[in-house]
């Protein structure tokens, strides 16, 4: 039996529209049936209206954009820290075998701790300040940066390393001028995974240790049994997540075309 042949785009779009509309219709019908309150199960347009209200009206202290801004700042800080530690450490591990052998077992052990499990220490060490969420984002975003830097640097053609050593390059210069440039495509691929994981961890962190941010907004919505607020938060998180990924994909494309990959 063959796979079903590709549908023509008109049919595909019609079916997609049918699927989307019936999903929304089912949801609306369930919400309007009066089985539960509209607060508990809002209709899709209730959620849209709530989202619009959150944009202009402060909830849990800030408007939606202000919450997003503080989430994004934390995300940026944790992500940049992960990059600043992950790339040099990955290069060191790729260059010096003894660093690799000492760090690898510790790293493998720490990697199995879910980033969210750092929450108690985040709370203990930083309270509800900015450090707590940043620690958790760092723990989520760090492993892919390290792994991809290491793998990228390990795949460098031996002859380049030999050439640089023959020409008298120091370890530092070999790492920064041979390993690092060669590892860039792999590193950028790792950054995309990192950003995704970091953003996810941030949301989890804000559910527990924060007093602003989208996660915090959702917790407050949950406490007020306002499903529409919680769903608005989910939508905002989804949109920003997509934007971050699209941005990094652009960076990846630019780098790949420049290198003629």
């Amino acid at each position: 039996m063959m796979l079903q042949p590709r549908l023509d785009s008109g049919r595909f779009l019609a079916l997609t529209a049918l699927g989307g509309v019936s999903f929304l219709a089912l949801w609306s019908a369930a919400a309007m049936a009066g089985l539960t309150s509209r607060e508990f199960l809002p209709t899709p347009w209730d959620v849209v209206a709530r989202f619009a209200r959150l944009v202009v009206e402060p909830f849990a202290g800030y408007t939606l954009f202000e919450h997003l801004l503080s989430s994004f700042q934390r995300f940026g800080l944790g992500f940049v820290l992960a990059v600043l530690v992950g790339i040099p450490l990955g290069l060191l591990m790729a260059w010096f075998a003894w660093v690799d052998r000492l760090v690898s077992p510790c790293f493998e052990a720490v990697r199995f701790i879910a980033p969210i499990a750092w929450v108690p220490f985040a709370a203990l060490w930083f309270g509800t300040g900015i450090g707590g969420p940043v620690l958790i984002i760092f723990m989520g975003a760090f492993p892919p940066v390290l792994i991809n830097t290491y793998r990228g640097a390990k795949q460098v053609d031996r002859k380049y390393i030999e050439a640089s050593q023959m020409l008298g390059a120091s370890s530092l210069r070999s790492m920064t001028q041979v390993l690092l440039p060669a590892a860039v495509p792999s590193i950028v691929a790792g950054l995309r995974i990192s950003a995704g994981l970091g953003w996810q961890s941030l949301v989890g962190a804000e559910l527990i240790v924060a007093s602003s941010g989208v996660g915090y907004l959702m917790v407050k919505g949950q406490a007020a049994v306002s499903t529409a607020t919680v769903m608005s938060g989910m939508i905002a998180i989804g949109i920003v997540g997509i934007l971050i990924d699209v941005g990094l994909r652009r960076v990846q494309q630019v780098i790949e075309t420049r290198r003629g990959v």
């Binding site: 699927g19 701790i113 879910a114 996810q200 949301v203 559910l207 959702m218 919505g221 997509i242």
Partner: protein, 263 residues
């Protein structure tokens, strides 16, 4: 991460792992106990951690002994993961096999996909409270998305000549699924299952941290409230250990299901 030299001599690698462990323990002991550079209120000493281990193992901590917490968390994850991935893999395979189903389901999927698993926690609490039902809902969404996506791409990645050969041989109906689609998609399905399992575990721990009666996340939550750093370390180590063992378990199943892929 192994260097080629290290893998060819397993004992040397084992030695380095032991050395790394010893260095970590020594540095830890030195920083917390001998020099006191890190205060005991910030990070526990090795001795305190072993005391906390005994406490949770023998007397119990936060409504239960260690094995009760572990059992509860692992059972919940297994239940949610099995249900979600069974439905997810079936749906993914159907979407892969039929472009009509793909077109119909796609819009719902585009909505669900960008939402991080952890973001379902507040919604689950609003709808289902702090009990097991909410945990299962959260695990379901965490595990569902990766298993659908990877089963779907698994079917689409099957080489065209395989379909042509099976069409020529008149393979159809159930046999087409059992002998062409499922085996062809299996490697990708397992990639998805591994991601699903990881997401389920992380999400469950997070959900238990937010609120639960028992479970590993509850140990962490209670220890944070009691400001009991040694118990926090025990909780984190338990989370890592269980996650690691479950991943190993899935790898074992994978090797059984795909004997031809044995490395």
């Amino acid at each position: 991460m192994n260097t080629p030299a290290a893998t060819s001599r397993p004992f040397a690698k084992f030695g380095y792992t032991l050395a790394a462990l010893a260095v970590v323990l020594l540095v830890w002991q030195a920083l917390t106990t001998w020099t006191g550079l890190i205060a005991a209120t910030t990070f526990p000493t090795p001795l305190e951690v072993s005391v906390a281990m005994q406490q949770v193992g023998i007397e119990g901590y936060s409504n239960g002994r260690w094995h009760e917490h572990v059992l509860r968390s692992v059972l919940l994850v297994t239940m949610g993961f099995v249900v979600a991935s069974a439905i997810g893999v079936a749906l993914g395979l159907a979407m892969g096999a039929s472009r009509t189903i793909e077109a119909l389901v796609n819009p719902i999927f585009l909505l669900l996909r960008p939402i991080p698993p952890l973001a379902w926690i507040p919604l689950a609490i609003v709808w289902l409270g702090l009990g097991d039902a909410a945990k299962i809902m959260v695990i379901f969404f965490a595990a569902f998305v990766p298993s659908v996506i990877n089963s779907f791409t698994g079917v689409r990645q099957i080489d065209k000549p395989i379909f042509e050969a099976s069409a020529m041989l008149g393979v159809a109906g159930w046999r087409h699924w059992r002998e062409v689609l499922i085996p062809g998609a299996l490697p990708s399905i397992f990639t998805g299952l591994r991601l699903s399992l990881q997401a389920s575990w992380t999400t469950l721990v997070a959900a238990e941290l937010v609120g639960a009666i028992a479970g590993l996340g509850q140990i962490l939550n209670q220890a944070a409230q009691d400001i009991y750093p040694a118990m926090i370390v025990v909780g984190m180590a338990s989370v890592a250990l269980c996650g690691w063992l479950m991943t190993l378990g899935l790898g074992w199943v994978e090797a059984r299901v795909m004997p031809w892929k044995a490395a």
